[in-house]
């Protein structure tokens, strides 16, 4: 008769990710780099918001970006047009970035050459939420065209957000969505702060940059 035994493991499945994420964070802190993990729905305006941030902050800070996407070259070219270094990370079939992707992306980069790093995550409101990258602030972007119930369908990612951006408020009347409802839902899910923006019309972009500045100053 074979001997049957129970082996206690108590092993954290995401342990490796957590470990690499904290190494990333230590590395960033040592080099005085502030890192934003920009998550959000597909097509909600993550790249547009980063482009605006680069334009508004590049006079004060040296900026770099990681463009994470299933095919990263499109977004990476858009960011690079603003004159900052961009590291494209194509995830292929993977639906999120993890700390390991970020660690590798930074391998050949001079960390003394920038102060602020924007990481654009893969468009998805579920999977990225479970993976810490080593960032200092998590931003979650949604737009009115996803429908104004979108926030309540994904409470956890909004609960963990340091900032929720409800974008494309300019087209809210055309898609019949209420940006105010989305604002209220994000607050009730516990998002630390919430702003409404339009990358097209410029509305709310001052609040976007002042959020970024406050995080940069605080780290």
């Amino acid at each position: 008769m074979h001997k049957v035994s129970d082996v206690k493991m108590g092993q954290d499945i995401l342990r490796i990710n957590r470990h690499i994420a904290s190494e990333n964070r230590e590395l960033f802190d040592r080099h005085g780099i502030t890192v934003f993990n920009v998550m959000g729905a597909i097509g909600s305006g993550k790249t547009c918001l980063i482009e605006h941030a680069i334009e508004m902050l590049k006079g004060e800070y040296r900026i770099a970006c990681i463009a994470g996407d299933v095919v990263a070259s499109y977004d990476s070219e858009r960011m690079a047009r603003h004159g900052v270094p961009v590291i494209p990370v194509s995830t292929g079939k993977e639906c999120h970035l993890d700390a390991h992707f970020v660690e590798h992306a930074l391998e050949d980069v001079d960390l003394a050459s920038f102060d602020v790093l924007f990481i654009e995550n893969v468009g998805n409101l579920i999977c990225p939420a479970d993976f810490d990258l080593g960032e200092h602030a998590k931003v979650v972007v949604v737009s009115v065209s996803e429908g104004d119930d979108i926030v309540l369908k994904h409470p956890v990612i909004f609960k963990t957000a340091d900032l929720t951006v409800v974008n494309k408020v300019d087209i809210a009347p055309y898609v019949g969505a209420s940006a105010e409802k989305m604002h209220k839902d994000a607050v009730s899910c516990g998002s630390s702060s919430v702003i409404l923006t339009s990358c097209r019309k410029g509305e709310g972009l001052a609040s976007w940059v002042s959020f970024l500045r406050s995080v940069i100053k605080g780290t």
């Binding site: 074979h2 001997k3 049957v4 035994s5 129970d6 082996v7 206690k8 493991m9 108590g10 092993q11 954290d12 499945i13 995401l14 490796i16 079939k93 993977e94 639906c95 999120h96 993890d98 579920i126 999977c127 939420a129 479970d130 993976f131 309540l152 369908k153 409470p155 956890v156 609960k159 963990t160 607050v187 009730s188 899910c189 516990g190």
Partner: protein, 125 residues
């Protein structure tokens, strides 16, 4: 679809532990997924079982336990359970309440319920 990634990590860890223990076979695996983790437990069982095929854990029973979501209050320090809608059969928190049950403050953070653990495995030698 990060179920596949997470399933692969589970399989690697279980097979690693099993061979370190000199197991002939793994007969069951017990996992804990917090109720606020964004994992579909049916899907992940399916993927783990299919990755186990052809290994010494083929056919192992996969048991999944939950852990309720809890929040800790930044204002009063109390820990309270995140209320779940009993009618929500999919155990998705469609209308979540992350506020502090003690003082009502919305300034809380999730302190339990997002974990994913391999609790134990049962092996034969």
């Amino acid at each position: 679809m990060h179920e596949v990634t997470v399933a692969q990590s589970v399989v690697d860890a279980v097979l690693g532990e099993a061979s370190a223990q000199g197991a002939r076979a793994v007969t069951s695996v017990t996992l804990i997924f917090g109720e606020l983790s964004l994992i579909n437990t049916e899907q992940i069982s399916f993927w783990i079982a299919s990755f186990f095929e052809g290994s010494l854990a083929e056919g192992a029973e996969i048991l999944i336990e939950g852990a309720p979501g809890k929040v800790e209050c930044r204002d009063c320090g109390a820990i309270s359970e995140v209320s779940v809608d009993p009618d929500d059969k999919l155990s998705h928190y469609l209308v979540p309440d992350f506020s502090c049950a003690h003082c009502g403050s919305p300034h809380t953070f999730i302190c339990q319920g997002r974990e994913m653990l391999i609790k134990s495995i049962q092996i034969t030698k």
